[in-house]
Symmetry: C2
Subunit: 427 residues, 2 copies
Amino acid sequence: MGTVGTGVARVLLQHGDRLARRAGRPLVLRRAVVRDLNRPRGLELPAGVLTDQLAAVLRDPEIEIAAHLVGGIHPAREILLQLLEAGKDVVTANKALLCECGDELFARARQLGRTIAFEAAVAGGIPIIATVGQCLSANQIVSISAILNGTSNYILSQMARENWSYDQALRKAQELGFAEEDPTLDVDGSDAAQKLIILTRLAFGVRATLAQVHRQGIDRLDLSDLRYADELGFTVKLLAVSQLVGEELEMYVQPCLVRKQTPLAEVQGAYNAIGLVGDVVGETWFSGPGAGQMPTASAVVADLIDTVAGRTQLNYPRLEWWRDPAPYSLLPAERIAGRYYLRFQVLDRPHVLADIAAVLGRNGISIASVIQHEAPEASSHDATTVPTVPLVIMTHRTTEGNLRAAEEGLARLGSIRPPHVRMPVRG
Amino acid sequence: MGTVGTGVARVLLQHGDRLARRAGRPLVLRRAVVRDLNRPRGLELPAGVLTDQLAAVLRDPEIEIAAHLVGGIHPAREILLQLLEAGKDVVTANKALLCECGDELFARARQLGRTIAFEAAVAGGIPIIATVGQCLSANQIVSISAILNGTSNYILSQMARENWSYDQALRKAQELGFAEEDPTLDVDGSDAAQKLIILTRLAFGVRATLAQVHRQGIDRLDLSDLRYADELGFTVKLLAVSQLVGEELEMYVQPCLVRKQTPLAEVQGAYNAIGLVGDVVGETWFSGPGAGQMPTASAVVADLIDTVAGRTQLNYPRLEWWRDPAPYSLLPAERIAGRYYLRFQVLDRPHVLADIAAVLGRNGISIASVIQHEAPEASSHDATTVPTVPLVIMTHRTTEGNLRAAEEGLARLGSIRPPHVRMPVRG
């Protein structure tokens, strides 16, 4: 009974009639398990509901379903297993757990004739698990491109709109509660990658580990990157992408240049959005709140209703999740192909552009366009620092492997100062 | 086996493995009923499948499900009833039929222990029936605002983008197959209203007839209206809206001014888009192809799979569709409230604006802003026509009833030439 649990309890208590009508029978909130019985919850629970004993749930045969709203891996994994062993169907919102232990938990549930529903684990209020697992069942999904981390999207939106630095936008996100005290998992792309791993398993039957997903965060971006992107007709978004390239699956989480006035480019603030391409339906788009107490509670309660109504039991064993062997293999990161945005901080002296172009060329990378604005007067008058200027290059189509090889060559040039930034271009 | 039927047959024949995996057992295309056996279909059917006898389906006890892809009301209604009587579950894409005879057909299906699935009847490739009827089951939907007619949206998009007249854009839509020879039902808002009626029944349990939906088409709009809207920061879209106002439901289909850079404003071409606000989840958005052979086939096949898997049977009796009595009443059109855009063609002479403002004021309508550009020189030199100029007024919040009363007063002024245009402002 943390934030989401309190939201779920509120819906169960306040909208019982609605839920009973839709589930076919009443949903009764029997127990709410908490660590600290005395912590204020902002919600009046019926007498006898609150307990600090998980056993009160496990041993009660009248409890058929448990909403498992526990973060992290341990003891979340052990609690989920105990619930299954005790004969409960489970609804969970824990993406990290599904990502790391999903195979074990799913297999155990199936052995025991139980189900695990997980709409709330990905993109909060957007019913994307049902969409991929059921609504688009006529299709082979061929591509997923999504904004799955609201914190990063809020930071990028604010940087672009308010001309803020990354640090300013992050602080504001923390003040507003959109970012954690330690925002690492949000801004380094891990959170988005975990959600992408779950969607990818459902849409493609492909299992990937966090280590296998080519991943880059937004924490190395500078406001100037957003400005250059804008100048080139793009918006910068942290995208999570899985797409079929022949019989292989390209998968990454990276800040990308997204063409303006396309659906993903226009997603503002802490929202999530997902573009799905199916081989029958074509392109579809879904967006909504990706997190937060009530959006997530909405997904949890929908799963509770589906489980009470018996729909989860029908759907669960038929998910693409279960495919074995996987029908597609992961494309090695080196072979991810596309156009790229590159920004270097270079010494303001002759031949630098020629040297860089030569290294890129030797590695099979051809240049589509270059932006190099004149250095501001101030920097050339300041004798205490080495005068450097930003150099932005848009490449023609190349591969991640070529870029990595080129970067080794560039590091030896001596005319480039770290950090440098690289983003794929989409659309 | 028209356009959509051929698409459904193609998916069934080409993707049998995929469908069997997801449905839990194979889907076999047993019969395809056509009027003319000799018409080319662009698809090779197995021997014995094609027939011109509906009885071949009705009398075959091994056929459990029928995809009912027949347009219009008669004999579509009679065919659907015969299929139900013969013990078949039915999947239909016929929105007009559900809108007009839905109560009768649904009741008969239930009496017979059969189901009718209808994802394909609204917004083609967008799984909006499942979303409203199942995925958002924790919520009371409080508002639907949607672009449900691809033809109208294509026409409006092209007018705005290419500076085309309504007639030019309509002709282009007809050339491309986005508009029928007789486009009336698309451009007068009937098609969108039928889809809205189905969504409204599902989301609010409210039954409305076509005659009850306050409805206006795009056929009276002029390119100048799109230009003025643009000048004011809006895009013109044909919106279908159902939203709760207290315990009453406001429902209309009208061209509206939608604030630029909001999700509906950015929907281009023949796409559909739907914004749903739920009391738990907040605001969510869905978009995709609203019609066409394969998007619609995608929805039909998803329904076939749901019916084979047994999910339709669980879901169908629990839809809000069945609520009786309806929990909300329809708000009379006169009480629909909002800000409005008004364009008049007025005589270019003194006092006209004052006269109009006086009539509006007497009817409780106050003016927020006015656009009246200087008349082009040419018109004042042309003595054979009465010189008129466009006058655009943005009102403060008022009601449809006040506007109707004001329009009667304005008609008596003598200084206004028809037609005049009125659009609500959203956002």
